[in-house]
Symmetry: C2
Subunit: 339 residues, 2 copies
């Protein structure tokens, strides 16, 4: 079965060139995929003319508008009807596409997911759930989206969605769910964590292992790292910033003397392998879970072509394993569907 | 003027040996310092017998009890009157010591600060404020203490205390204060940040520069990184865990082949210099700001002798520059002293 994926070519820091290159590579790497690019047709046709690709599997839809990070998200979704983002999401809504990839404004992408596609029945909030590199492989951080100050019952639902995701996409049998906390004792935490903790403990469909302190996150002590979106956002961005800073400083140290430069050349190959584990670009983007149908993947604002082509593969796998459907089923079985 | 400092030799992961070695080194490095060790006299005398030091400047006080991280903090402070922690804090309370250093349970150290020494007049909460290594030098993260779910006016006071600290201890003229947020636009954030933001903007005694996303923290984009304690704790511990993980992985990569091992030897010296910047052990501990008098410094639970001797120097400087007094003065001038 062919999977139809829309790529929003606007809104990312690297513009249409990165999206187009990523699209063409994604098309070549995945023979069972069809792509639709939304954006400025003239620019896209020109960029595409430089590549050889299967024209039957790539379509361009012209959009007159662009949503940027300066636009108020909800307002932009409601008014910029001919933007690459809104047009793309409507294709998913109408069932003309299975998945949507965007490097655009997080706020607008998240708002668009809720307003245009809509939440699945019974889903209280739609969390954004990126994978973090750890010494024990990629682990799911849920939520980093727009649901700041979430309620305890919302976090419990996120824990279930995250578990289903890790089971089906990453193949982990009984994913360990832990809540981000400032200590490992049950009585520790802020009001939200203290209220959520007993609910998680009582939840039979997840493998809740208690609290996780942030210092343990990089060592893979949990498969589903559960937290409210504000803290999740802080964790995600600090992961990114601190890795970047440390690697930059180490590189600087290696380039500081003639001797160290020679040494750097000798460890280059071994180091490159290690560093690729920290490179999120070959892992795709963060899916927005709990949508009514289809899939929405937010890739990093500064995504290069590699992120886009990885996201194409990610979407294909996601659609083929029917994770969205399994999340809806899983929540329904749980009796959490109350609407 | 001689500075009297108490060192709690119990409660840390490395026990009395680390504290004693750090104390002896601290004594040798700072001729104008007197130390009082609280703990098990028999053990301490035995450990001390292996060192040569100025006996007139070091006193041991025998304590029968120990507060561990398994004790409920407030309960422990109230009942374990003969613990090394309570005895030490009482020395500060009674004016017999100027400062107190402990690697013991954070909760108990923080509770002890408030319950035994007490908050200065007008101080709403006492924040724990460690320094974080960044590419632009050490920056203050405030608060990482016990005040989770803090109120906006409490955060504003923390911003003022942090500014006074960075001005007087780190010599920064107009410290840039930024609040940790999930975006840089003013309308972004959770309820607490949205409420606090305009109060910070209106505060004339600080140099408020707006929001800081966590990815910018390692690049020193603010001198005072303001946040509520839950998020502060997550930032601090992720800083620690992620640095450790990345350095461990890089070391592993360097040791993976014969060629990379030779390369590693050649870059060792340059790398060591860089890595020492990430090493918090030579920076002392985190002071608890806003106490009635005296100084309380919490060093890491797994502190080695180096942390203890750095904290001795830190306490001396802190007492000599009278930062505690300046914080009290600064807050009073501001008209925030309402009690």
């Amino acid at each position: 079965m062919s999977v139809n994926i829309v790529i929003d070519t606007l809104g990312g820091d690297n513009g249409a060139p990165a999206a187009v290159k990523g699209a063409v590579n994604g098309l070549q790497q995945n023979k069972d995929v069809k792509l639709i690019l939304t954006g400025r047709k003239k620019e896209l046709d020109q960029l595409l003319s430089e590549y050889t690709y299967d024209k039957d599997r790539l379509e361009v839809i012209d959009c007159a508008e662009e949503i940027t990070c300066h636009d108020a998200p909800v307002e932009a979704i409601k008014t910029k009807k001919d933007s690459s983002l809104v047009v793309g999401l409507n294709l998913v809504k109408e069932g003309k596409a299975d998945a949507f990839i965007s490097a655009g404004s997080s706020g607008a992408v998240l708002a668009g997911g809720s307003l245009i596609i809509g939440r699945a029945k019974g889903v209280k909030r739609t969390p954004l759930a990126p994978l973090l590199p750890t010494t024990e492989g990629m682990k799911l951080l849920i939520d980093c989206g727009a649901n700041v100050d979430a309620k305890p019952e919302v976090l419990v639902q996120f824990a279930k969605m995250g578990s289903i995701y890790m089971q089906n996409v990453m193949g982990i049998k009984k994913p360990r769910v832990a809540i981000v906390n400032i200590g490992t004792e049950e009585e520790k935490g802020n009001a939200l964590v203290k209220e959520t903790f007993p609910l998680l403990k009582a939840c039979k469909s997840i493998n809740f292992v208690g609290s996780i302190e942030s210092r343990e996150i990089p060592f893979g002590k949990a498969d589903v790292i559960l937290t409210e979106a504000f803290v999740g956002n802080v964790v995600l961005k600090l992961y990114e910033g601190l890795s970047k800073m440390i690697l930059k400083e180490i590189k600087k140290a290696m380039m500081s003397t003639v001797k160290s430069k020679i040494g750097a050349l000798m460890i280059k190959k071994s180091l490159k392998k290690t560093l690729s584990n920290f490179n999120a670009s070959n892992k795709g983007g963060a899916p927005l879970l709990g949508l009514k149908h289809g899939l929405l993947v937010k890739v990093h604002g500064n995504s290069k072509d590699e992120e886009f082509s990885s996201a194409v593969l990610q979407c294909k796998n996601f659609v083929n394993t029917n994770v969205s459907g399994k999340i809806i089923e899983g929540l329904a079985e749980e009796g959490t569907v109350t609407e």
